[in-house]
C-alpha cells in the first residue's frame, strides 16, 4: 500500500529551481535513501514533505490525503515526523521534557483541565511520562532524563532528536543526515538502531545521508538528486554502477585534445 505519493513537485525560489519534477511513490514499510552532492535539494524535499515550504507545482499525498495546503503541525499530526540536519533540540528543556513535547499533540485535556490538575489530565500526564521514558530507554538516555538537552554530547543529541520524533507516533519518519559527525562505531550502532526502530514501530523511513556505508547498508531503494533533478533511482548495486551518479559525484574525466 502506498503511504506517500509525491506527484512531480517543483519548487522555485525566484529564478532558482531548487527541486524540479520530484516523483516518489513510497510503499508502507520501505526504507528509502535520498542522496546527492551538497546543494542538490535533498533537505528542500524534506521541507516540502513536512509543509515548511509549499511546492510551486505538483501535489503530495500522504495516506491518500493531499497535504499541500496543510500546516506543518497538521502534517505531523497525520503521522509524519522528522529530524533536522543541524540538530534542533529544545536546548534549555530537560531531556525528558523534549520527548514529552512530542507527545503534546495527542493531549486531549483542555488548558483549564491541565492548570487545575483534574484527574483526567493527571492520568494523561502520567501516560505521557511513561511513554516518554520508554522512548528514552530505547535510545539509552533514561538515566539522563533530567539533564538539559543542550548539555548532551553530540551523538546523544542526535539520538534524543530521533526519540522526540518517535514520540509523535509517526508512520513516516524523515531522517536528515542522522550519521553526520559520528565515528565509525557510532555509525554502525546507528544503522542497527534505525533498522530496530523501523521494525518495532512499523515505520516507513526516508533517509538523507552522505555516509555511503549507511545508505548502501540499510536502504533497499535509493534516489539520487543532483541540482534538484532526480538523476537515478534503484537498488544500491544499480546506483553504484550508474554512470550518471558517478559523474555527479566525481565529475567527468577530462578529455585532452
Amino acid at each position: 500500500m502506498s503511504i506517500l505519493k509525491v506527484d512531480h513537485i517543483t519548487i522555485r525560489f525566484g529564478g532558482l529551481t531548487a527541486v524540479s519534477d520530484f516523483y516518489l511513490d513510497l510503499k508502507e514499510g520501505e526504507l528509502v535513501g535520498l542522496i546527492g552532492p551538497n546543494g542538490a535539494g535533498k533537505t528542500t524535499v524534506f521541507n516540502m514533505l513536512t509543509g515548511v515550504y509549499k511546492p510551486t507545482s505538483g501535489k503530495i499525498y500522504f495516506n491518500n490525503q493531499e497535504i499541500n495546503i496543510k500546516k506543518v503541525s497538521e502534517i505531523t499530526a497525520l503521522g509524519m515526523a522528522r529530524t533536522f540536519q543541524n540538530v534542533r533540540l529544545f536546548t534549555n528543556l530537560s531531556v525528558l521534557d523534549n520527548v514529552m513535547v512530542g507527545c503534546h499533540l495527542r493531549l486531549k485535556s483542555s488548558v483549564l483541565n491541565a492548570v487545575f490538575y483534574l484527574p483526567k489530565y493527571v492520568q494523561e500526564e502520567s501516560e505521557i511520562t511513561e511513554e516518554a521514558m520508554k522512548l528514552l530507554k530505547e535510545v539509552n538516555l533514561e538515566k539522563l532524563e533530567s539533564n538539559l538537552a543542550g548539555g548532551l554530547p553530540y551523538g546523544q543529541q542526535r539520538k534524543l532528536e530521533i526519540a522526540r520524533a518517535l514520540a509523535t507516533r509517526p508512520r513516516l519518519l524523515l531522517l536528515d543526515e542522522p550519521a553526520a559527525g559520528m565515528n565509525p562505531q557510532e555509525t554502525k550502532d546507528l544503522m542497527n538502531f534505525i533498522l530496530k526502530i523501523q521494525e518495532k514501530y512499523k515505520l516507513t523511513i526516508i533517509l538523507i545521508e552522505h555516509d555511503m556505508k549507511v545508505v548502501m547498508g540499510i536502504c533497499k531503494r535509493i534516489l539520487v538528486l543532483d541540482y534538484g533533478v532526480t538523476i537515478a533511482e534503484g537498488n544500491p548495486i544499480e546506483i553504484q554502477h550508474n554512470p550518471e551518479v558517478i559523474k555527479a559525484y566525481l565529475g567527468v574525466e577530462a578529455h585532452y585534445a
Partner: protein, 353 residues
C-alpha cells in the same frame, strides 16, 4: 515517600496560614502608607508574572501590557462605581446608556475586567503573533498606545483625558495578595503542564516545535490571552487602589516598569519575578527620598523628579551586564527546597542536642 508528601501538604497549609494571619494583622493594624505599598507589591507581582508568561516562557516579546491594564481598569471602574459618582465625573459628555446606571459587586467587575482584557488580547494577538521578535514588540507597543489615545478620545465612555476620579476604594490586601497568589499558582501550573512544555518549546525553537506537532498559533494566542487576563485584573485593582484613573496612567512608562521587573527577575523565572516585583514596589517608595532636596557632602541638590527612574535604569544596566539571565535565571524556588531547609535545620538541632 508517602510521609514526605504529607509533610509537603502540611508545609503548604502552614505557609498559607502564615500569609493569611499576616494579611489579617497587616490589614488591621498597619499604617495606611505601608498597606498601600504592600498592595502595590501584590499588583506588581501579578503584572510581572503575567508578562513573564508571554515574554519569558513563550518567548514572544510583548510591550502591550499597559494597554491591557488600561482596559481592565476602565472596564471594572465603569462597572463597580455607583451611578452618582459617574454622574459627577461625566459633567462634560454624559456616559452612554446602560453604563450610567449599572453597578455590580467588585468581584464580578474584576472578572469582567479580566475577560474583556483577554478578549482584546485575542483580537490583538491573533494578527500580531504572526510577527516575531522586534516586529512583535513594535506592534504590541503600538497597540498599547492606540488604547491610550482611544481612551483619551472616547469621551462618552471613558470621560477622555479627564479620567475617572473618586472611585470607591475596594482594593485591600485580601484582594491584591489573594489574586497575586492565585496568579502565581495558575501560571506555575500552566507552565509545568504539557501546555507549558509546548510554550517553552516555542521559545526554544519555533521550527522544531511546529515540526513536533505543536500548534504555534494556538499556543502563542493562549499565552497572550492568559497574560492579558491577569494584566486586566491587575489594572482593575490598581484603579481601585489609587482611586483615580486617566488614560495617561497607562503610558509606555507603565509597561517599561513591568519589563524591568521581568528582565531583572529573570525571563522564565516566576520566583525571580515575584521577588523583584515586590522589591520594585518597595524601592519605588523608599527611593522617593532621592527626589527630595538634600545636601550631599556640602553640596545642595534640589529635588529632581524622576531621579528614581535614573537609579532603576542604572540597576537595570548592572543586571544586564553582570547577570545576563536576570537575578534568578530560569531557576525556581520550590517546596522541596524549603522542606529540605527546614528538615536540615531540624536535623542539625537534633544532632546538636
Amino acid at each position: 515517600m508517602k510521609g514526605k508528601k504529607k509533610d509537603y501538604i502540611l508545609l503548604k497549609i502552614a505557609t498559607i496560614l502564615i500569609i493569611f494571619i499576616f494579611i489579617f494583622i497587616a490589614q488591621r493594624s498597619f499604617d495606611a502608607y505601608i498597606i498601600r505599598i504592600l498592595n502595590l507589591c501584590g499588583i506588581y507581582v501579578i503584572l510581572g508574572v503575567s508578562l513573564n508568561l508571554i515574554n519569558g516562557f513563550t518567548g514572544q516579546f510583548s510591550l502591550g501590557h499597559a494597554g491591557f491594564m488600561a482596559i481592565g481598569a476602565y472596564v471594572s471602574a465603569l462597572l463597580y462605581t455607583s451611578p452618582e459618582i459617574k454622574e459627577v465625573n461625566y459633567f462634560i459628555t454624559p456616559l452612554i446608556w446602560p453604563l450610567n446606571i449599572i453597578q455590580i459587586p467588585f468581584i464580578f467587575s474584576l472578572i469582567m475586567a479580566g475577560l474583556v482584557s483577554a478578549g482584546v488580547g485575542f483580537l490583538v494577538g491573533a494578527p500580531c503573533l504572526r510577527l516575531k521578535g522586534d516586529y512583535l514588540a513594535i506592534v504590541t507597543f503600538g497597540f498599547s498606545e492606540i488604547i491610550r489615545v482611544l481612551f483619551c478620545n472616547l469621551q462618552s465612555i471613558t470621560n477622555g483625558p479627564l479620567g475617572l476620579k473618586g472611585l470607591p476604594s475596594y482594593t485591600n490586601l485580601w484582594w491584591t495578595w489573594g489574586i497575586a497568589i492565585f496568579t502565581v499558582w495558575f501560571i506555575k501550573n500552566l507552565i509545568n503542564s504539557s501546555y507549558g512544555r509546548a510554550l517553552k518549546s516555542i521559545r526554544e525553537d519555533e521550527i522544531a516545535a511546529e515540526a513536533m506537532g505543536v500548534k504555534l498559533f494556538y499556543h502563542k494566542v493562549l499565552s497572550f490571552i492568559v497574560g492579558a487576563f491577569f494584566a486586566g485584573i491587575a489594572g482593575a485593582l490598581l484603579g481601585s487602589l489609587v482611586m483615580t484613573i486617566d488614560p495617561n496612567t497607562f503610558s509606555f512608562f507603565m509597561t517599561f516598569q513591568i519589563i524591568i521587573i521581568v528582565v531583572v527577575g529573570g525571563l522564565g523565572s516566576i520566583t525571580g519575578t515575584v521577588i523583584v516585583g515586590a522589591l520594585f514596589a518597595i524601592l519605588m517608595e523608599v527611593l522617593r527620598s532621592v527626589e527630595s532636596p538634600m545636601s550631599l557632602f556640602g553640596l545642595n541638590i534640589p529635588g529632581i523628579p524622576g531621579m528614581r527612574m535614573l537609579l532603576f535604569s542604572i540597576l537595570l544596566m548592572i543586571v544586564v551586564l553582570f547577570f545576563h539571565q536576570g537575578l534568578m535565571g530560569t531557576k525556581e524556588w520550590s517546596w522541596e527546597w524549603l522542606y529540605k531547609k527546614l528538615m536540615g535545620n531540624k536535623k542539625e538541632i537534633e544532632e546538636g542536642s
